[in-house]
């Protein structure tokens, strides 16, 4: 097991290197010029060229790549071409809103979706099952910004219960202030994940509930709740964990629409802004971090399989 984990961690290095090369080359092949963003509309071609020179954008690609990789190996993600701020500092400012929102979203989604899926499977083809499935279709189909605006209209504008927008750090402003602002965006995002996880839970549970050992457990007189949550759910957990894990990774990569609708200064907006401004060091860092997150989350999911399903061994 330990050997497996070490091998997987070591495998991250070539993956990240390949990602780094691709990101660097793709960005340089995309039309766009950060110097033009900095200089503004009135700059003459001469002035643009001087700014490009000062920023090192006129250097050969190989020189630029080697400089960047050299910095990266020292743990330095570079400096934003646009604002001159350290990329590490920019990401540090923006990662926690995203992480906190992702965590809250996934907790809400799991707390709602797993019981929903279990009950839907338990009462297969009953009205509960149909209601869960209908909700799933709705959750998938309605665009996230529509849900966000509806929540704002109802809970913020009409009822006045919650703020329209913004983010409050739980460590600086307290948990209540955080929840006050985070609950609407988290619920908005959770709608999709509830739909997804509930559907997956139902499907896995249906498969497991037809197994012989479930019939045996019931025949032995085991309580139904114990049959469902201890015997069936645990055996049905592998695909559910996969969905939860990839969902969490997706949330961490940034959810730019929700961040925009609720004005959350997360990394989704940071990435989009950086792309629009062709802020190469920020885009490169963000893609590396996103790729790294996926690799690590996948590793954690694989490890968690062994906890929930002891049959799995690496």
């Amino acid at each position: 097991m330990l050997g497996y984990i070490i091998r997987r961690i070591l495998a991250i290095i070539p993956v990240m290197l390949i990602v780094a090369i691709f990101v660097f080359l793709l960005l340089r092949l995309t039309p766009g010029d950060p110097a033009a963003i900095i200089a503004g509309d009135m700059a003459t071609p001469e002035q643009l060229d001087r700014i490009r020179e000062a920023m090192g954008l006129n250097d050969p690609l190989l020189t630029q790549f080697m400089t960047w990789i050299g910095q990266l190996l020292k743990g330095d993600l570079g400096v934003s071409l646009i604002s001159g701020t350290e990329v590490t500092e920019m990401i540090g400012q923006r990662i926690f809103p995203t992480l906190n929102m992702a965590l809250l979203t996934i907790v809400i989604a799991v707390l709602i979706a797993v019981p929903m899926g279990v009950i839907a499977a338990w009462r297969h083809r009953s009205w509960i099952d149909y209601a869960v499935m209908s909700f799933s279709v709705l959750g998938f189909s309605v665009p996230v910004f529509v849900i966000g605006y509806l929540f704002i209209l109802v809970f913020s504008i009409t009822l006045g219960w919650l703020p329209v927008q913004g983010y409050a750090s739980p460590s600086e402003k307290g948990m209540l202030a955080f929840l006050d602002r985070a609950i609407l965006p988290a619920l908005t995002l959770a709608t999709i994940y509830v739909a997804l996880i509930a559907r997956m839970t139902r499907a896995s549970m249906l498969e497991v509930l037809g197994e012989d050992y479930i019939r045996t457990a019931r025949a032995k007189g085991v309580r139904e709740s114990k049959v469902l949550f201890r015997h069936a759910l645990r055996n049905a957990s592998v695909p559910i964990l996969t969905v939860i894990g990839t969902g969490f990774a997706l949330l961490i990569s940034g959810v730019v629409v929700t961040e925009s609708v609720f004005n959350i200064p997360g990394i989704g907006r940071l990435t989009v802004d950086a792309i629009l401004a062709r802020d190469y060091p920020v885009i490169q860092a963000m893609i590396l971090i996103t790729s790294g997150t996926y690799v690590v989350v996948n590793l954690l999911i694989d490890i968690s399989y062994t906890i929930f399903d002891p049959r799995i061994r690496y």
């Binding site: 039309p31 766009g32 010029d33 033009a36 963003i37 900095i38 200089a39 503004g40 509309d41 009135m42 700059a43 003459t44 071609p45 001469e46 002035q47 643009l48 001087r50 700014i51 000062a54 934003s80 646009i82 604002s83 001159g84 701020t85 920019m90 400012q93 923006r94 926690f96 992480l99 906190n100 965590l103 605006y149 704002i152 913020s156 504008i157 006045g160 703020p163 329209v164 927008q165 913004g166 750090s169 739980p170 460590s171 600086e172 402003k173 307290g174 948990m175 209540l176 202030a177 955080f178 925009s260 609708v261 004005n263 200064p265 907006r269 940071l270 802004d273 629009l276 401004a277 062709r278």
Partner: protein, 536 residues
């Protein structure tokens, strides 16, 4: 960090969580009561990312600079230069300007402002600003003779010198400490210390997200009342926070809910959402707004032929463009003046077809007489900037109606700004036509308007080689009075539209919105936060 804090709190007992939360909210409420009433939270037209007002012409950076820096000279509501940091005298021969610094001015780090700082700042600014470069062409010396005196000696009179250093846009010469102004003009400054009415809070700056300013308690405002960018900059609030909201619907909801105080620019079609709320006011603040324009590439066919340019101009209708772009006629104005309607140099000579709905038949006739061979025009159409999305679509249809073959290429604005710098032929990554918008003060004089540069490859994108416009501009500089300037401006207007140096497509205004307790905002083209009061 916050993430860990969240996790650890979630594992603690419910009792301690509730107690902690109550304490936190109590502390927040107390803190809120202490400063909330004198904090203005504003949503500006874009996020602040570049902090150096010399390296960029971005409006948000200029607005930031007006918060933390001060200027020697500023223009009032009649566009007349007035003393701000300094008073001046001009020698009888018009060759020597002597500026005298007013007393008591300090930078935010406590150091006194001296004319050595002004000298360094003006020299750095002049390397980047078109007007500054023109003055430097006739400058014999620019020297701080002592802490309070700056002497600017010229080799020949430069009539609009005070207008140029007092201008409010692209680029105003802001005064910063000499050690910061020593940074090369092509490299961004890294320290942001001015002597203006607000101080920049470095620790709270998040590029593109939010920026915080606090009142500069040491600032000494002039005694005159504030007037446009001139007069006393009296600060009546403790703190101003600019926050960026990428979604305009969110910012409107936040304004309605009282979470923010001010939105700098709103889309006209969303205004009805604010109707009926007594706590919210929307209005036109900028007296003149923006001019929207089209610019052709003079280097390549077909627009290297004056008749083709004239045919294209004749096909266009300002009303059609503005109605599509803005919709509500209360917020746009058909205006044939290249220097903008409402400015001292405004004149509409030569704009008859533009302002009267276009002349498709006339355009067809001119095009038939021209060298146009049916080659597709590469029209660059940005799709991600709301205020630039309509013009290419309307123009493309009008040009097709006149007989042009139009290849409208959708792209994001960043691709456009890169591609417009390309001097390749249109079929090889170049272009023929694009549209953009200017704040009227940025095009209100031949000395500031970038489109009136006729120096070929050194000119603004499109690169017209037009010695006549350069001669007219030189004559404008030599003009002794406003009447003389207006006469020359009229010639430049006629020449510009005859040569189609660019196509003025009219003016529009982005309305602003504020909570009704925000009062005494100055009606200046630059949104400034002095003079403002927050009531209640």
């Amino acid at each position: 960090m916050s993430f860990h804090s969240f996790r650890s709190r979630s594992t603690s007992s419910i009792r301690s969580l509730v107690a902690g939360a109550l304490l936190a909210t109590t502390a927040m409420a107390t803190a809120g009561a202490a400063w909330a009433e004198t904090t203005i939270t504003a949503v500006m037209h874009s996020g602040l990312r570049v902090l150096d007002p010399v390296i960029t012409t971005a409006h948000i950076t200029r607005n930031h600079a007006y918060m933390i820096y001060d200027v020697l000279v500023a223009v009032d509501g009649d566009f007349k230069p007035q003393p701000q940091m300094a008073d001046w005298t001009v020698s009888d021969d018009g060759l020597t300007y002597t500026f005298t610094l007013r007393d008591g001015l300090k930078f935010h780090d406590g150091a006194p402002v001296t004319m050595a700082d002004a000298e360094a700042s003006l020299k750095r600014w002049a390397k980047r600003d078109a007007g500054g470069q023109l003055i430097m062409d006739v400058t014999e010396s620019l020297t701080a003779t002592d802490d309070k005196t700056l002497v600017w000696k010229l080799t020949k009179p430069f009539g609009p010198l005070l207008d140029t250093i007092g201008k409010q846009s692209a680029l105003p010469p802001f005064i910063m400490p000499a050690r910061i102004a020593a940074t090369p003009s092509d490299t961004a400054i890294t320290e942001h210390i001015g002597s203006g009415p607000f101080k920049f809070v470095v620790d709270e700056f998040q590029p593109g997200v939010s920026v915080t300013y606090v009142k500069n308690e040491d600032y000494l405002p002039r005694s005159e009342p504030a007037d446009n960018m001139a007069g006393g900059k009296v600060v009546n609030v403790d703190k101003v926070v600019w926050t960026t909201m990428p979604d305009v619907q969110t910012s409107m909801n936040a304004l309605l809910a009282g979470e923010i105080d001010y939105i700098e620019a709103l889309q006209v079609d969303l205004l009805p959402l604010l109707d009926g709320d007594p706590d919210v006011v929307y209005e036109k603040r900028e007296p003149m707004g923006y001019q929207t324009i089209g610019r052709m590439n003079f280097k390549y066919p077909p627009f290297n032929d004056i008749k083709v340019r004239q045919a294209a101009q004749m096909a266009l209708s300002q009303e059609a463009v503005l109605a599509t772009l803005v919709g509500n006629p209360d917020y746009y104005e058909v205006c044939g003046a290249i220097f903008g309607c409402g400015t001292p140099l405004a004149d509409a000579t030569g704009s008859e077809t533009l302002t009267s709905g276009g002349d498709i038949e006339g355009a067809k006739k001119l095009l038939a007489e021209s060298s146009y061979d049916g080659t597709p025009l590469v029209l660059m159409a940005p799709t991600d900037v709301v205020t630039l999305a309509a013009q290419p679509v309307v123009a493309a249809q009008a040009l097709r109606n006149a007989g042009f073959n139009v290849d409208m290429q959708p792209m994001d604005w960043q691709t456009l700004v890169t591609r417009r710098a390309s001097q390749n032929p249109p079929a090889e990554g170049g272009w023929n036509l694009f549209f953009t918008n200017w704040l009227v003060p940025e095009i209100s004089s031949p000395l500031v308007s970038p489109m009136l540069n006729g120096r070929g490859d050194k000119a603004w994108f499109g690169w017209p080689d037009d010695p006549v416009v350069e001669e007219l501009k030189a004559a404008f500089v030599d003009a002794g009075s406003l009447e003389e300037q207006q006469a020359i401006a009229k010639k430049i207007q006629a020449h510009t539209l005859e040569q189609v140096l660019y196509i003025p497509l009219g003016q529009y205004i982005n309305p602003q919105a504020r909570r009704s307790n925000i009062v005494d905002m100055l009606p200046s083209p630059v949104p400034v936060f002095w003079n403002i009061k927050k009531e209640g």
